[in-house]
């Protein structure tokens, strides 16, 4: 184990090196570029024995990864923003074909207005593409997810691709101390990928086929079951990870001081740390504040969220996303979890950080005040309500 002062991108690339993918196919895009650069340097200097395929677009990047996975290879790609949207068609081929590809996405704003800075509208727009989606908070978690995601994706009960999301710039370009495991540790955690879901001349089979109305829905049902099975596999994987590397993660979400909290802020990604710090400060003032950090958006932690919020007086969702004409997608998902569990507490949506706009400690304090006092259903930080005027009933 060694310690290095690395950016989120560099830490993630180190995790991928340890995972020994057979094939890397990627197209550079800000703010993901450094991952692709580092991996190509590692291949060049021989410290990573992968076939690195330079492609002409993101559509081709994921197509190559699908082809490699269909040949039984461990395949990696990385993208961001418009690149993710450009490869959207292929996302469904990868998940529908049950190819356990791992992709890193540097969360970035979507055009127009064109903008290279971070928000989460790119990945959240692809929640229905059949990929497991996980959001890292810091560089260490990013590196660790680079290892864990393969084990989850390749588990025979899951066989589903994983998208690991790092907030653009705030995480991808921020340097911090990261523990880099030994290759022997990584190898014992993540054995080589072996699958029957591949082209095999000795055992010919049909891959990536058509399925008509009579059977198509069965494949979709099974993809759904595979995704649901990932819930238990995430827990098992984290437990095995802790045994080898000594770092224990908390499953689909991370609760912070929620047990006795009156007011809980639900969020995801790198802003969670500042939310926890703000909750601590509010507690010193006698306000019982808590934070839920969603780690996995798919599979979605319905039961866990309901359990965390059940005894709160009110909650808010802070997200870098808006589904125009409705509300933030994370808010929709959280409300659905509460409705199914019969939890009836007021909740408010806070849209922030779009196009890389800073979210300050003061903004988060104001959010807690709004949760306490009640506000409009959908609020744009620094602007106000969504103009819809709808009050939460």
């Amino acid at each position: 184990m060694s310690k290095r002062f690395l950016s989120g991108n560099e830490a993630f690339a180190e995790g991928i090196r340890l995972a020994r993918p057979d094939v890397i196919s990627a197209y550079p895009i800000t703010p993901q570029t450094i991952v692709v650069e580092r991996l190509s340097e590692m291949v060049e200097d021989g410290s990573l024995k992968s076939d690195f395929i330079h492609v002409e677009s993101e559509h081709s990047a994921l197509s190559c990864a699908i082809g490699a996975s269909a040949a039984g290879a461990r395949a990696f790609t990385a993208t961001s923003s418009q690149g993710l949207l450009y490869m959207a068609e292929c996302l469904y081929y990868a998940s529908g074909g049950r190819f356990p590809i791992v992709m890193m996405n540097a969360d970035r704003s979507t055009a127009l207005p064109w903008n290279i800075y971070g928000d989460q509208r790119d990945s959240l727009s692809q929640l229905d593409s059949g990929w497991i989606q996980v959001y890292a908070e810091n560089a260490q978690e990013a590196l660790d997810l680079a290892l864990m995601s393969w084990r989850i994706a390749e588990d025979g009960r899951v066989s589903t691709p994983v998208m690991v999301n790092l907030d653009g710039f705030v995480l991808t370009h921020t340097y911090e101390t990261v523990e880099i495991p030994e290759q022997t540790q990584a190898d014992s955690f993540l054995p080589r990928y072996v699958t029957e879901n591949r082209v095999d001349f000795d055992n010919p089979k049909n891959l990536a086929f058509s399925a008509g109305p009579d059977t198509n829905y069965i494949f979709k049902y099974k993809a759904h079951q595979g995704m649901l099975a990932a819930k238990a596999v995430v827990t098992e994987t984290e437990s095995a990870f802790a045994d080898i590397f000594g770092r224990q993660y908390s499953g689909l979400l991370e609760n912070y001081r929620t047990e006795d909290a009156d007011y809980i802020l639900v969020t995801l990604g790198s802003i969670a740390g500042l939310c926890r710090e703000t909750a601590d400060r509010l507690r010193e003032q006698g306000i019982r504040a808590g934070v839920v950090r969603i780690r996995y958006m798919r599979p979605f932690p319905n039961e866990e969220i309901a359990a965390a919020l059940r005894n709160a007086k009110a909650f808010g969702v802070l997200e870098k996303d808006i589904s125009f004409g409705n509300e933030g997608t994370v808010f929709t998902n959280v409300n659905s979890a509460l409705q199914k569990a019969g939890v009836r507490i007021p909740g408010y949506d806070f849209i922030g950080g779009l196009g890389g706009r800073n979210i300050s400690a003061g903004d988060i304090e104001q959010i807690y005040t709004d949760i306490q006092n009640g506000t409009q259903s959908v609020n744009f930080i620094g602007i106000g309500g969504d103009g819809n005027g709808k009050q939460h009933s």
Binding site: K3, R4, F5, P31, I116, Y117, G118, F169, V170, L171, H173, T174, Y175, E176, T177, S270, I271, G273, L274, R276, E277, G356, N358, I359, S360, A361
Partner: protein, 171 residues
């Protein structure tokens, strides 16, 4: 938490200094945590650049840009304005690479030291100055960061610059 803002122009290595300082602070000390990051966005040679170093004895959770710093380090004196004083904490200091004194700041002729080591930029010179004035990192830590994170062929000249800058402050 201790916070440093680095101000320079694209190509001067302000962010490299920010990164080295964070790496130095955490070098060989598990109780130390740091974040270093540039002002995000497109990079252009010659354009003003900001970079940030945050240091603490617990994990640094606030990833937002520093608004009030303990030190502001200006690598190019044409970027200094008196308005920078408002971005300082009450006991904060501004350090400027400048041949001429500037009221309300600590000035140091970084180019003289850089020239001695045939360095095209003053970033590691100023790193040496801040390390000596602040006491946040030791000389050994500063040197270990240069050796750990700069290309081998320029390490010796940069560690030389760090040491000479620190010596100049002590005098």
């Amino acid at each position: 938490m201790k916070e440093i803002i680095w101000l320079g122009r694209g190509g001067q290595g302000a962010f490299t200094a920010a990164k080295l300082f964070g790496a130095a602070y955490t070098a060989g000390n598990d109780a130390h945590y740091a974040l270093s990051f540039p002002s995000f966005g497109p990079e252009r040679r010659g354009a003003p650049v900001r970079a940030f170093t945050k240091l603490d004895e617990k994990p640094v959770l606030d990833r937002s840009q520093t608004e009030q710093a303990d030190y502001i380090v200006v690598l190019d004196d044409t970027l200094y304005t008196p308005a920078l004083q408002e971005q300082l904490k009450p006991d904060g200091r501004i350090i400027v690479n400048s041949k001429a004194p500037i009221a309300g700041t600590f000035t140091f002729d970084g180019e003289a030291v850089a020239a001695e080591f045939r360095l095209p930029t003053v970033n590691t010179v100023m790193l040496g100055i801040v390390s000596a004035l602040s006491g946040y990192i030791t000389e050994e830590q500063a040197v270990s960061a240069v050796e750990g994170y700069m290309p081998e062929k320029i390490q010796a000249r940069n560690t030389g610059a760090v040491k000479l800058a620190r010596e100049a402050v002590r005098k």
